[in-house]
Symmetry: C2
């Protein structure tokens, strides 16, 4: 057997909260003006109370509402796949498993949190959500989720992406999302994620019917993603594995990594590995300190590894990993030594992507390929040492809308940064 499938009624019914399982409590977010710890009231213009409560909850498990499960089950549980053809190509004794999050409607793990975020907002009477999107994965996911709850969605898309990636924009429109280039008031500016966040936040605070939604970094976002790791635990048992030796995922804001890895945090023997781009090495070369989530300094200050909120990463193809900061929980796990981090240049990443596509048949998103590059290194290390290592990684998205990046790689135009 190489694919391990759970039945629909084996979908997790509660999210795994890693907060009460950490070695020590998290440091609180600070108000951008007063630099005092923020309270719930500071966040109510942007988020519904249910999400604000999840942000700080110390309950070990948080129930997933039935109305959310009804939509998640359109594609969940996702398959766990043993990459036997990749193993054979590498000649490794390692057993390699991946969680296939590319099967969601939007093609990535992002709808796992877009759906509950839309639900909780709708439940509190909000009928419209705004957000920013860079590469487009998050905007796509939120457009899908709001279409399921009959809500409006407005996506501020970084203008350079808006112009260069029309397919992502169209996909949002197929689900009824309204997409505008950002910054809205500077039509000649190429835009940035920071500016797009400012546009989306400004829109949300200005209207009673509207809230803002974020696709990574925050605790409640990573909480929603833990369905990935919970399913993977059950599926590894189906595959006859007691536990993985190493869990690997790419890391931008941290949501797909947290989703897969958090349920394994209490298992001390399991190594957890974050893979980031060498051109945006937040965890490997950043500093752990309080910093803003956005460029303009409008968001609360978060305790995290950061390259500085004014850091502008080079325009690499894994747009989802181009973030100056990182999830505070991920940052803490790395700081405490519970999680490793490694950075790769994109040439190595696309080499791994091609090897995966030609052995396993699936064309990965550049973000996912960062994880695959580390998987290959781990599998070759196991071959070297003759070890039967069990490797688990997150296939967090397909590359169907990223083929221009492959074209650059195949024809020698990729900048190997």
């Amino acid at each position: 057997m190489s694919r391990f499938i759970l039945a629909e009624d084996q979908l997790p019914t509660a999210w795994f909260n890693v907060l009460p399982r950490l070695e020590s409590p998290m440091e609180p977010p600070l108000h951008p003006g007063t630099r005092e710890p923020i309270g719930p009231d500071d966040l109510t213009p942007l988020f519904p109370m249910a999400l604000i409560a999840q942000e700080v909850s110390t309950d070990p498990w948080i129930d997933i509402p039935g109305e959310v499960l009804d939509i998640l089950k359109l594609w969940r549980p996702t398959p766990l796949v043993r990459a036997e053809r990749l193993e054979a190509a590498l000649g490794t004794p390692a057993r390699i498993y991946f969680k296939d999050e590319s099967v969601s409607p939007a093609g990535s793990h992002k709808p796992n949190t877009a759906v509950p975020q839309a639900f909780y907002n709708k439940a509190e009477g909000v009928t419209r959500l705004t957000t920013e999107t860079g590469a487009g994965q998050w905007g796509t996911a939120l457009s899908f989720a709001t279409s399921q709850y009959d809500m409006e969605c407005k996506v501020y898309m970084v203008r350079a992406s808006y112009d260069q990636k029309p397919y992502r924009k169209i996909m949002m429109e197929v689900w009824g999302g309204e997409v505008v280039p950002s910054p809205v008031d500077e039509p000649d500016h190429p835009g940035s994620l920071g500016a797009a966040i400012s546009d989306a936040v400004r829109d949300a605070v200005g209207r009673d019917d509207t809230h803002y939604a974020l696709g990574s970094v925050l605790n409640h976002v990573l909480l929603h993603q833990t369905v990935i790791g919970l399913e993977a635990r059950d599926q590894l048992k189906l595959a006859g594995e007691s536990h993985p030796d190493v869990v690997i995922a790419p890391c931008g804001g941290g949501s797909n990594l947290g989703g897969l890895a958090f349920p394994f945090v209490p298992d001390e023997g399991v190594r957890l590995v974050a893979v980031e781009p060498a051109s945006c090495p937040t965890l490997t070369e950043g500093r752990f300190e309080y910093d803003f989530g956005d460029t303009a300094g409008m968001t609360p200050l978060l305790p995290m590894y950061t390259l500085g909120h004014d850091f502008v990463p080079p325009s690499i193809h894994a747009g989802g990993l181009r973030y100056h900061g990182d999830s505070p929980i991920i940052s803490k796990l790395v700081k405490d030594g519970r999680m490793e981090a490694i950075a790769y240049p994109q040439g190595k990443v696309f080499e791994a992507a091609l090897q995966f596509a030609r052995s396993e048949g699936k064309v990965p998103a550049p973000e996912a390929a960062h994880g695959i590059a580390k998987v290959i290194d781990e599998a070759l290390a196991a071959k070297e040492s003759g070890e039967e290592r069990v490797i688990l990684f997150n296939y967090c998205g397909h590359g169907h809308l990223d083929l221009a990046a492959y074209d650059d790689y195949l024809h020698g135009r990729l900048i190997d940064a």
Copy 2:
């Protein structure tokens, strides 16, 4: 439950041969020069003996080689999904099921035959395959399959598509396929499927190490696709359905329709429906007669519904359905009254695609959306009459590489032909 999953070891191990189940024998293909029935020797320059034998076999079942199953199981069995959210949106008492063939590496049903075609060629010592591709689905599938058997693949792509659809070309290159625009000797010509077939055939007959591969129309191609219908039969039983009332699929050359429908041919109460574009109405407005498979008249004459081998269909977005002829078996089933056919304009088709995307979450290929338009009509007819109709259709491909067509539809640029 809304998704019905078979285990890997429930993948069919034999293909279903509809030939011995037809009311009367098929009329033979004729030699394009002599107009006499062709024999195996006429086909050996192009195809391996195993496929030539399958083309005329009357064995009711034909074993699938283990080496083929090893690759099919990368994505098969595919899910059968009950489209409960679409049912709710339509308010229909019908129960709607779809077979999700979009989960294959190439994103459509095409690899089901690309893999065995590559295998049988390799087994007879062929190391290189040529083919033509229009929209790109078939070239993608064959590039994937040859990469799995370490064979070379050369794809002659209709020049207009080559220029307009770079993503499809890149996907073929990711799997190691070589893609060139056709016609090769007329760089200013936009090309046609007929001319591309001529290029691919000429290449294959000129080299001992090379054969040609076709992605639809022929009996052995449709045979390989019957895994779709065989799995669907088992999955409907899991869903508690004794049989479908109506089986629906889009029809270009006939391979995804044949693959889903053939296993239901012996079940007299089951209606079988082909859906084609109004702009290329082969089954609904063509004539049943002997005609060439290609524009240039190089292929054998096939007994089929045809609009004439010099018919040039308008440039609609469902490129996979733009074929002047049709599978001889499909043609015979329609002529004998065992199968219905209906044609829709693409405006109605995209309206259905959008309704599906917003209810079920998946963005269909324009080809698949032809079937969905008929599904919606059948479901609304069931609502009108208060009937509990069981509808089965083939979700034969995703629309991730067809988003430009959605853009045209959403912004009023679609020609409603």
